[in-house]
């Protein structure tokens, strides 16, 4: 049995899908029967073919126990599903479930996990083997604290015991601060205790990835050095592999320490990562922590070196030793070795602060990034520049792209402050400082980034002038060596174009005239010592002569090559769902005999596993980089439909440069995405849209709003995830929005729609081959229109839509598929007001819901779509009829609110969720309940509920409050809601508003009297301070919050079903759910059309 890591959240992303998939494959290869539990339907690992039985059930001890009862597994492998799986395994162990059913924990035992996770046990173990840790002492009085201080010296970290999120702590650099923070900490700590610890902020940070087998053979797979010094969570740090600034003696001592840690903690087999801090002044090395499992870093290490840690870890867990396993990449040498690499890997985290404007953007010890990108270059300079443009934040590299103004405009004092405070754009501040003539020493003194990195950054900043000194692009073309040097330093065509005031196209043309194109190096695990056969490539300039191995040359008959462009770094609105689609396209096309070429820059994904495609190019997803790969490989076509907005944004430029876009044409994509064109199309097809208009200026916008009437829904065109999408209720907000929205998307107008109040939103996924159109599923949203579809729960099959509405939806869907000449997938969002169907949006591409639909219906939509794009017909593939399952599946979104303390948790048209879960059951209410449990909204079975609803919801609230009473809940409400309830004869306990007195909701939370909060936000203006405060507080106390009436309605239905079932909620594998799914016929190498005629 394997446990997955559940929904994508900050700190746990698709790297655990990657590791889980590898583990599943690896174990089944050995003939083991694999039972998998994961609540996340967007994962590849939960595809029915990866395990023998797959349970998409909530990841809680109860549900896992139910699966264990049913499946009776022999062993549990808890080390490939992140911290979630590790914690659950511990819970199961402590509850005696594993013992009761005779389940053996493999990979890491409970004692090992305990020793690694428990701070004091870990410290004991480290001291036992003579390793250093940050020194500390605890104190209960200021005198005790002073004594500790005297032994340690400043700076010191003061950590109050048992306060939430370390509240009240801080760093003391002098006596005054020390006294103040300690006093405050002692006061705030419920146990009146503070930990006084030496500060290692500013030290260098390293990570080693270790593997060990049962014979105690140990290898280090990769060393990683953080560019950001200690103080920034490693997940939020820019990291570089291999480590760059260690002497061999330092590195080998670290290696010895890492192996010693693994041994003393007792990890007998598998992978672990060990983190170290190093004092740059004297080399003192301390152990920070170790993870006795595969991790985000191990996924990075696997992608960085070609050594598949999770795959090998799974084999080691079932008894293999490293020397018995083969190195996949060379296929000749064993896996028992330490990879050597002849390039530099850079990882840069991707943040989403634009989604949470009120969140604190300063980086610290708690991880805040939502994704990451990795790049490979021959040198650090090349690698860093590639990584920066891979990040897809609009930057073309290390500055020099016309977007440096905010950094260059800072005065010296604010630049210094910006350098001192870790934040997501600090690199650009460093560039600005170098451009200002600041020295490496000065900048190092402020930000503590190692001078080794800073020198390279300085050289890049200075080289801009070297390019500029060429005078013009024509002159640069005449100086090929200088041009080449720029490319070797990683400068993109866009940067060169900006510096020389030319266009990107002109730079590319000049380069092509000079034959200045990148070569592709092989990620071969061995720095070219041995021939490598696995085609995993990166681009680099200045390498040449010998072409690297290519399977094309080896595989006999030439096959048609299809490029699949991935989704780039995870961010809110673009995540694992799109990677899932890309991976499915690879699988289907490979099976059908095509040669698949994957291009992506996200190290967490399954798509960047070299096993997924025939050829993997780890490259930035920019026009320049993608075009090179396409031409280098001589692809027959590229698929842009599957990777979300990233490849779609490239589609037109790729096409203009001779790339064949297969599937729905970029022209059709434009037709659907361009409001004006779409409006004409809708009118022609007789489809109803909310009244709307376009505006490029504030006056124009106001005119549109006056015409369609407030409230209006406003958004920029061509964005994903509802970026900057808002419901606007008045003129003033509208004007503010127009001022700020211009920054979001430059040459596109703002779209203004009449907002449809109280409308039910419906998502439809449809597939078409140009002749046959089939609906994948009609999904009914739980939350009303106006909340981003990615953030609302939705249900298959639609439980409340009338037959006639569904008929209208189908008819309109087909009409659109026809009109847009869809070849592949299409997603449509409808709003249903009574019996009126409005069309909100059409996306002729794979949508976020595709994996959810496939997991629910058992129809591999993405695979079918990929095949359709290369010319297969749905009739031949055996999918011509919409399939409506007998069971219910509910998708629920998961939010990162706990990571951003103090921000409001309400839903809006702007997407905020990072991940999703699915609840599946024969009963609709239970499916919803499962989705809530899986999403971490542990709805209580009884106890106190706090109700505070806006006026518009009071009517519904009365009816639902009555049901809550019937379910046995005690009701608490604020004045307004309470009055409404009393009028309807429902007795509750009235409480004060937070601002007006006690007891109020926060008091009730603190006294554990309520364990569920229902709070629907006031509409229109900024939500009331009271509400925000209460909801934010509930988040920190982990109390479920329901913010919509519909959410409440479904929750009550779920709880009622739960009571009716007497708490016996059944678990079933999706293989069982899919028994009645329509069989499809996917082509094989023989029947497919991959072979060239």
């Amino acid at each position: 049995m394997l446990i997955g890591s559940g929904p994508i959240v900050i700190g746990q992303a698709c790297e655990f899908d990657y590791s889980g998939v590898q583990a599943c494959k690896s174990l089944r290869e050995e003939g083991y029967e694999v039972v998998l539990v994961n609540s996340n339907p967007a994962t590849i690992m939960t595809d029915p073919e990866f395990a023998d039985r797959t349970y998409i059930e909530p990841l809680s001890a109860d549900f896992l126990s139910a699966v264990i009862r049913r499946e009776r597994p022999d062993a549990l492998l808890p080390t490939v599903g992140g911290q979630t799986a590790l914690n659950l395994a511990m819970e199961l162990d402590k509850a005696g479930v594993l013992e009761k059913y005779g389940v053996e924990m493999i990979g890491a035992t409970a004692e090992v996990i305990e020793r690694a996770e428990d701070r004091s046990l870990f410290k004991q173990a480290m001291l036992k083997i003579g390793l250093d840790m940050p020194r500390s002492g605890s104190a209960r009085t200021i005198d005790e604290a002073r004594k500790v201080r005297d032994t340690l010296g400043y700076p010191l970290v003061i950590r109050p015991g048992f306060t939430l999120g370390g509240a009240g702590g801080g760093i003391a650099r002098d006596e005054a601060a020390f006294e103040r923070i300690v006093q405050q900490g002692l006061f705030l700590s419920p146990t009146h205790e503070v930990l006084v610890e030496e500060s290692i902020e500013g030290w260098k940070e390293f990570e080693l990835e270790v593997m060990r087998d049962r014979k105690d053979n140990c290898v280090i797979v990769c060393s990683i050095e953080n560019l950001d010094p200690m103080g920034v969570h490693t997940g939020d740090s820019i990291t570089v592999a291999p480590a760059q600034t260690l002497t061999d003696r330092e590195y080998q001592n670290m290696r010895d320490a890492a192996l010693a840690v693994m041994r003393v903690i007792g990890v007998e087999t598998g992978g672990s990562n060990v983190q170290f801090a190093l004092n740059p002044a004297n080399g003192r090395m301390v152990v920070i922590e170790m993870n006795p499992r595969v991790s985000r870093s191990s996924a990075l290490a696997s992608k960085a070196t070609g050594f598949p840690i999770a795959k090998i870890a799974a084999k080691l867990a079932v008894g293999y030793t490293l020397d018995e396993l083969r190195n996949d990449i060379t296929r000749q040498t064993p896996a028992c070795f330490e990879p050597s690499i002849d390039y530099v890997v850079t990882k840069i985290p991707r943040f989403a602060f634009e989604k949470f404007p009120s969140a604190d953007p300063v980086l610290g010890t708690q991880m805040k990034s939502v994704g990451e990108t990795m790049s490979i270059g021959r040198t650090f300079k090349e690698s860093l520049q590639k990584a920066l443009r891979s990040l897809e934040t609009g930057r073309a590299g290390f500055g020099a792209d016309g977007k440096d103004d905010p950094f260059e405009a800072r005065d010296d004092a604010s630049l210094e402050a910006a350098l001192r405070t870790p934040h997501s754009n600090r690199l650009f501040d460093i560039r600005a400082a170098f451009r200002r003539g600041w020295s490496v020493a000065r900048i190092h003194g402020i930000c503590k980034v190692d001078p080794w990195f800073l020198r390279h950054l300085e050289e890049l900043a200075a080289y801009e002038d070297e390019i500029r000194a060429a005078g013009s692009l024509a002159e640069l073309e005449r100086d090929a060596a200088r041009f080449m040097q720029a490319k070797q330093f990683g400068f993109s065509d866009r940067q060169i174009a900006w510096i020389l005031q030319a266009t990107e196209d002109a730079v590319r043309a000049a380069r092509q005239r000079l034959g200045l194109v990148p070569a592709y190096g092989l990620v071969d695990t061995c720095a070219a010592e041995f021939a490598a056969l696995t085609p995993y490539f990166y681009s680099t300039y200045g390498s040449g002569g010998l072409p690297e191995a290519s399977p094309t040359a080896q595989s006999g008959a030439p096959r048609r090559k299809i490029m699949i462009i991935g989704g780039g770094p995870n961010r809110i609105g673009q995540g694992i769902e799109f990677d899932y689609c890309c991976v499915h396209a690879c699988f289907a096309l490979r099976d059908a005999g095509y040669e698949t070429v994957m291009v992506n820059s996200n190290p967490e994904t399954v798509s960047t596993d070299y096993d997924t495609s025939d050829m993997l190019y780890f490259e930035p997803l920019t026009l320049e980089d993608v075009l090179h790969v396409y031409r280098h490989e001589g692809c027959a076509g590229a698929i842009v439909q599957f990777g979300g907005q990233t490849p779609l944004n490239l589609a037109r430029a790729l096409e203009a440069n001779g790339v064949t876009i297969i599937g729905t044409s970029p022209y059709s994509i434009d037709q659907a995405e361009d409001r004006k064109q779409f409006q004409e199309l809708a009118a022609r097809l007789g489809l109803r849209q909310p009244e709307n208009g376009l505006a490029t200026g504030a006056d124009e916008a106001e005119a549109v709003a006056a015409r369609v009437g407030f409230p209006v829904l406003m958004r920029p065109s061509f964005v994903l995830g509802g970026r900057a999408m808002v419901i606007v209720f008045d003129r003033e907000t509208l004007r503010t929005y127009m001022r700020e929205a211009v920054e979001v998307s430059e040459d596109r107008p703002v779209l203004i729609d009449r907002f449809l109040a109280n409308a039910c939103e419906v998502d439809v996924d449809c597939i078409s081959d140009g002749e046959t159109h089939v609906i994948g599923a009609i999904m009914e949203h739980v939350e009303l229109a106006g909340i981003h579809s990615g953030d609302s729960a939705c249900i298959i099959p639609a439980p409340n839509l009338s037959k006639s509405v569904k008929a209208v939806i189908r008819k309109q869907t087909f009409a659109l598929a026809e009109a847009l000449k869809v070849k592949g997938l299409m997603n449509i969002q409808f709003a249903v007001q009574g019996e009126d169907v409005y069309i909100l949006e059409v996306n002729p591409r794979a949508s976020r819901t595709v994996p959810f639909v496939s997991k629910t219906t058992g129809v591999p939509l993405a695979k079918l779509a990929a095949l359709v794009m290369v010319g297969e017909k749905l009739v031949d593939l055996g999918f011509t009829q919409e399939f409506i399952p007998q069971h219910y599946a509910v998708k629920e979104a998961v939010f990162p609110f706990t990571r951003f303390p103090g921000i409001d948790v309400v839903l809006s048209p702007e997407m905020k969720s990072t991940g999703e879960v699915m609840g599946i059951d024969g009963n609709c209410g239970l499916a919803y309940l499962k989705s809530q449990i899986a999403a971490g909204n542990r709805l209580p079975k009884g106890g106190g509920v706090f109700l505070s609803v806006r006026d518009e919801d009071k009517g519904d609230a009365v009816e639902l409050a009555r049901k809550l009473k019937q379910l046995g809940f005690t009701l608490y409400a604020t004045l307004g809601t309470s009055t409404a309830l009393w009028k309807a004869g429902i007795r509750d306990r009235a409480v004060f508003r937070i601002s007006s007195g006690h007891p109020n909701a926060i008091d009730l939370i603190e006294s554990d009297e309520i364990n569920w909060i229902i709070s629907t936000p006031t509409v229109g203006t900024e939500p009331a301070w009271d509400e925000v405060k209460m909801r934010a507080h509930a988040v920190t106390r982990n109390i479920p919050i329901t913010t919509t009436i519909n959410g409440l309605r479904w929750s009550i239905m779920g709880l009622k079903s739960y009571q009716t079932a007497h708490g016996h909620v059944k678990v079933r594998s999706i293989q069982e759910y899919h028994e009645r799914s329509p069989p499809v016929r996917l082509p094989t190498r023989v029947s497919g059309k991959g072979l060239q005629a």
Partner: protein, 389 residues
């Protein structure tokens, strides 16, 4: 602001010419001298200072597959000998140092030592060429004194390392006692305390790395280092408890005097051989050595202990190996093999306490996995009964 020399670098005025006619162009970052040498590549990710100060690299141009070199500078503690022995260095990038232990820059040290070096080289392409074609002779031109055709001719004209006695060139001139005060053995990052030195060891210096000496000393051995050509009689006259056969450069077959001495010592005193010392022991025990296509140079070589079935990740640096098929299995056990290519990595004499390994238990650079071999040497001495006391 730092001054950069991009224009100079773009000219790529220096080059490496290979005997097959291939030219690799770059710029000079070392001394202004032109040299011939045998071109090898090393895949280690750390420890360039240890590598270039290892006398085994005498006569060779070391190509670093790791693209960023020079990062940690040079320091006195990490030396493996008194000078830089590699004939030249080939790098992709030669960086300024950033490490608290650094005492000088790599480029400065190379200039001071009179060793030429190239940067700006496509080291991956060079490595692949060497991997496919085998180790080659080369000519490194940094002065502009020879045109490229001339450079190729010079590379071809050079006699190379086969059959050459380089050990005699790098060996000490006179016997000396190693590190009487223990300071060198306890240099940074090493054990802080030493056991009393109760065993007397004679170490043949064929190009010995200091960390071998440190390793012996840490096992309580007092070491006298003797020149390569010291006779067996002279060694025995020193009444050692054990003899260490060191690593060293070039071709073991060019050292018949050493093989003769070892033959004589066999059975009279416990011996441990490392790298070249291992090859010499192999020859003394009747085996033959041969040239590997491109040798083993790196820190990641998996070596299996055939008796224990466990694997050590080892540091390696050799172009020659003992041919497995020439080993007289009646007299000699093969104890270790390389898992990458199955070559012989360790042998043990059946009759006498003598064993040797092809890899480097002293590490520096590289993992410490094989360090217990020094302990094993001590054990072989103490249990053999050959101990003088």
């Amino acid at each position: 602001m730092t001054t950069f020399h991009w224009a100079e670098q773009r000219k790529k005025p220096a080059y490496l010419a290979l005997e097959d006619g291939t030219i690799f162009r770059g710029w000079s970052v070392g001394a202004a001298v032109d040299r011939v040498g045998e071109v090898v590549f090393n895949t280690g990710l750390t420890g360039y200072q240890e590598i270039i100060s290892d006398p085994s690299y005498a006569g060779q141009f070391v190509t670093f597959t790791c693209p960023e070199i020079g990062n940690v500078g040079m320091n006195a503690a990490d030396r493996e000998s008194l000078s830089i022995h590699a004939s030249g260095l080939v790098m992709h990038a030669c960086n300024a140092a950033s490490n608290w232990r650094s005492e000088s820059e790599l480029g400065r040290a190379l200039k001071d030592a009179g060793v030429p070096a190239l940067a700006g080289i496509d080291t991956r392409r060079l490595t692949r060429l060497l991997r496919d074609q085998g180790t080659m002779k080369g000519f490194m031109c940094v002065t502009g004194a020879a045109d490229e055709a001339d450079g190729v001719a010079q590379a071809r004209a050079w006699q190379g390392l086969d059959g050459q006695d380089y050990a005699a060139r790098v060996s000490c001139a006179q016997p000396y006692a190693w590190d009487a005060d223990g300071r060198e053995t306890c240099s940074w990052g090493m054990a802080a305390r030493l056991p009393p030195a109760d065993l007397k060891i004679v170490a043949y210096d064929f190009g010995i790395k200091w960390n071998i000496l440190r390793g012996l000393r840490r096992q309580g051995m007092q070491v006298t280092v003797v020149p390569a050509k010291t006779t067996a009689a002279a060694v025995l006259a020193m009444k050692p408890d054990g003899v260490l056969l060191s690593n060293g450069p070039a071709d073991p077959a060019a050292l018949p005097y050493a093989v003769a001495a070892i033959r004589e010592l066999l059975g009279k005193v416990p011996m441990m051989g490392i790298c070249l010392g291992h090859q010499l022991l192999g020859l003394a025990l009747g085996g033959r050595t041969y040239r590997l296509k491109f040798g083993h140079h790196g820190c990641n070589h998996p070596v299996m202990d055939l008796a224990a079935g466990t694997v050590a990740i080892t540091s390696q640096n050799h172009n020659f190996a003992v041919a497995a098929e020439t080993i007289d299995t009646a007299r000699v056990d093969v104890t270790h093999i390389n898992l990458n290519d199955q070559t012989v990595e360790g042998i043990r004499c059946k009759a006498f306490p003598a064993f040797s390994v092809q890899y480097h238990p002293e590490a520096c650079p590289g993992p410490h996995d094989a360090a217990p071999l020094f302990q094993q040497f001590r054990t072989s001495i103490t249990v053999s009964g050959c101990a003088a006391r």
